[in-house]
């Protein structure tokens, strides 16, 4: 595979697309072929299956450029696996098919997410070259440095403000435009920032925040408004601590559309009878909203809040492009990248672990929700 990828890299950019897709689909077709013949009986199929059991692991190892006897080990596994399958209650080929469907995803997740997570966790307790165990030194460094504390605090500020404000705006907007004329266009206007990259959004907002010295004509909209009101131009993204809030506005601008679309759909799912009944009881619009609509869309609210929380914990692009963390605006993801670039791998990993610990409660909560749902089914 390495050779193939090296070869393909020498081709023109756009020619690489069809070739790599073709190669990919060939592998998938082979996989589906073996899945399909797996449950058939007869000596011929048995031999093909047995061959595949050896062939596939061997191929994977060879593709990754392994030594020969790693392939032999794979063969032993293949044989064992075939034997187990042969005695399986669910019929011949069952385990074989299961592995066929699952292995690409599981394999990629193992090398791309599970192994790296473990590796990063270990690195967080090592020195910057990864040669010596230093215990909690990296974490102590983060939480004793002014900039380190500031970074963590900034992340906390992001995760407190962005989800709340975008959800409130999104919800209000969804309620305001509900069943109004031109609802669809209203939705598109606010949803559009979702399609814009964080880098693009950062440039858009840098332009809004642009500042000119007093007396010159302003080119940034926000400062122009300030000048019109009789104020003095402000350098929005340099003045700590308020600059963090002006960066936060960008993420709110992006995420509100997401909240609005989901909550709007949820609002339409609230039964009209309940609203009617509440009205007959003599409640006003606000009471109906708080007592009927909000409980009715509770699960959607939770989804929106968690999704945006995770997005704001991991925020990177906005800070990177607008300030690169200067003037005390850094967040964990940005600091982790900066440390890594400065060859401080241990500190970088420690930042990643801090981030993981902050995401963990959200993971646990969501996983439990899914576990509940699956039990119901």
């Amino acid at each position: 595979m390495s050779a193939f990828l090296s070869w393909i890299a020498t081709l023109p950019s756009l020619a690489q697309i069809p070739l790599v897709l073709l190669a990919f689909f060939a592998v998938i077709a082979l996989l589906i072929f073996f899945i399909e013949i797996a449950p058939r009986s007869g000596r011929k199929y048995t031999i093909i299956r047995a061959a595949a059991c050896v062939l596939f692991p061997a191929l994977i190892f060879l593709a990754l450029g392994s030594v020969l006897w790693a392939a032999a080990a794979a063969a032993v596994f293949g044989g064992l696996f075939f034997l187990l399958d042969y005695r399986s209650k669910q019929g011949a080929g069952y385990l074989f098919q299961l592995v066929g469907f699952m292995s690409p995803a599981v394999f990629l997740l193992a090398i791309g997410l599970i192994y790296p997570t473990i590796q990063t966790t270990i690195q967080a307790f090592m020195n910057s070259r990864g040669t010596r165990f230093v215990g909690l030194e990296n974490f102590i460094w983060i939480f004793t440095q002014d900039t380190g504390i500031r970074t963590v605090l900034n992340t906390v500020v992001w995760v407190l403000i962005v989800p709340t404000v975008s959800t409130i705006f999104g919800l209000a907007y969804a309620v305001f435009i509900d069943k109004s004329r031109g609802e669809k266009i209203f939705k598109i206007l606010v949803f559009m920032p979702m399609a814009i990259s964080f880098v693009g959004a950062s440039i858009i907002w840098r332009f809004v925040y642009a500042v000119r010295p007093e007396g010159q004509e302003q080119i940034g909209l926000l400062n122009q408004i300030v000048v019109w009101m009789g104020g003095q131009p402000v350098d929005w993204i340099s003045n700590s601590p308020w600059n963090t809030f002006f960066l936060i506005v960008v993420l709110i601008w992006i995420q509100t559309g997401f909240a609005m679309v989901i909550l709007s759909a949820a609002i339409k799912g609230v039964p009209a009878e309940q609203l009617e009944a509440a009205e007959l009881d003599g409640t006003n619009a606000w009471q109906r909203f708080i007592n009927v609509t909000v409980p009715g869309i509770r699960s959607s609210l939770v989804v929106v809040l968690t999704t945006i929380s995770i997005a704001s914990l991991k925020v990177f692009d906005i800070v990177r492009t607008m300030t690169a963390g200067a003037n005390e605006t850094s967040v964990i993801a940005n600091e982790m990248y900066s440390q890594w670039q400065g060859f401080e791998v241990g500190r970088s990993a420690a930042f990643a672990v801090v981030l993981f610990v902050m995401v963990l409660p959200i993971v646990v909560y969501n996983a439990r929700q899914i576990a509940k749902q699956r039990e119901i089914r």
Binding site: S2, A3, L5, S6, A9, Q16, I17, L21, I35, A38, P39, R40, L64, G65, F101, A105, V106, L109, L113, P116, T117, Q119, T120, Y173, F176, D178, S180, I188, V190, M192, M194, A195, I196, S197, G200, I203, F207, A210, I219, Q224, V261, I262, A265, G269, L275, A285, T307, D317, T321, A324, I332, A333, W340, A352, L355, V363, N366, I370, A371, Q373
Partner: protein
């Protein structure tokens, strides 16, 4: 998942009027009256204007001559008229020593298309297995995969990079050799594929498991294997979900900066990376920045407007569940 999207019936004017007349005393009419007060409409209008103005300003600016952009604000366009496409030609040629923005645009396409298709295929295979093959520990593994979704990418980037460049050995046994593929797209493709998998598996599983079991059992009774069921029944029926996730994945990969910064070096860098670089080095050249930003958001906006219907449906599929 709950089907919360109301059916949009293709009504002509007369039919609409008739329906409205019928509803005059109905619930729908009264609900409508209650909810669209004047204040709410004005508030909605204000929000809509606030949300659109920054993008609009950027667009107008990108079409103005550089001197004008630096001299006065875009809202004075009528006092100081003047349009030009020079900013666009200039920014397409701008960049660093190895790459200009036009090349980066091609790179973005070359990175995004395979990185959209790979995870979808692999995830739909896994989603099928989670939904329709019974195996011990299925629920727990599925929850495990879901939980991986929120492991921050930041934790995975650096070890994965060293896995690509140095390989992995335990003792003397070399498990993987290095990929030997720096300065090619393969690292970015693989990285994006891996990082997309947990969410893709989760969302597609929600769709796949909603297929009526009678349909699949009938096919099984007729002698179809899992491979055939997957191809003939599951894939066609989940096409809407696959389409919506494809749009999502396309936008994410196109808009991504972090993975690109770590995995796409030198001449394979996508547009976001180059644009971030230009922002850093030529942050006051607003004619370049505005035009560059608009080129970078052009493709996502086109995809967004063309396929908006599927896009929203996909959002709802995974999220308003339960």
């Amino acid at each position: 998942m709950t089907a919360t999207v109301p059916a949009k019936l293709p009504l002509d004017k007369n039919a609409k009027k008739q329906l409205a007349r019928g509803e005059k005393n109905g619930a729908a009419k009264r609900t409508k009256k209650r909810l669209t007060s004047r204040g709410a409409t004005i508030a909605a209008l204000v929000i809509a204007v606030l949300w659109t103005t920054p993008t609009f300003g950027l667009f107008v600016s990108s079409l103005r001559p550089p001197e004008e952009i630096l001299r006065n604000g875009w809202w004075t366009i009528f006092q100081n008229p003047g349009f030009t496409l020079n900013n666009y030609t200039e920014v397409l040629a701008a960049g660093n020593s190895t790459l200009n923005l036009a090349g980066a645009f091609i790179n973005s396409i070359a990175i995004t298309l395979p990185a959209t298709i790979f995870p979808l295929v692999i995830a739909s295979l896994a989603a099928y297995a989670f939904a329709w093959i019974k195996f011990p520990g299925r629920n727990w593994i599925f929850i495990g995969v879901f939980a991986l979704q929120i492991v921050p990418l930041q934790m995975a980037l650096v070890p994965l990079l060293s896995l690509f460049s140095r390989g992995l050995s335990i003792g003397d046994i070399e498990l993987f050799s290095s990929l030997n593929a720096s300065n090619s797209y393969s690292q970015v493709w693989i990285a994006h594929t891996i990082f997309a998998l947990p969410l893709a598996i989760f969302l597609l599983h929600n769709f796949v498991s909603e297929i009526p079991s009678e349909l699949i059992e009938a096919a099984r009774v007729d002698g179809a294997g899992h491979g055939q069921v997957f191809f003939r029944i599951v894939l066609p029926l989940t096409m809407p979900a696959i389409a919506s996730f494809a749009i999502f994945q396309f936008l994410w990969v196109w808009n991504d900066l972090l993975v690109a910064l770590v995995f796409a070096d030198g001449r394979v860098a996508p547009m976001t990376k180059l644009l971030a670089e230009i922002t850093g080095s030529r942050g006051q050249d607003w004619n370049l920045l505005t035009a560059g930003a608009f080129i970078s958001i052009l493709v996502p906006l086109l995809v967004f407007f063309a396929l908006q219907r599927y896009f929203v449906r996909g959002l709802l599929a995974g999220s308003t569940k339960g």
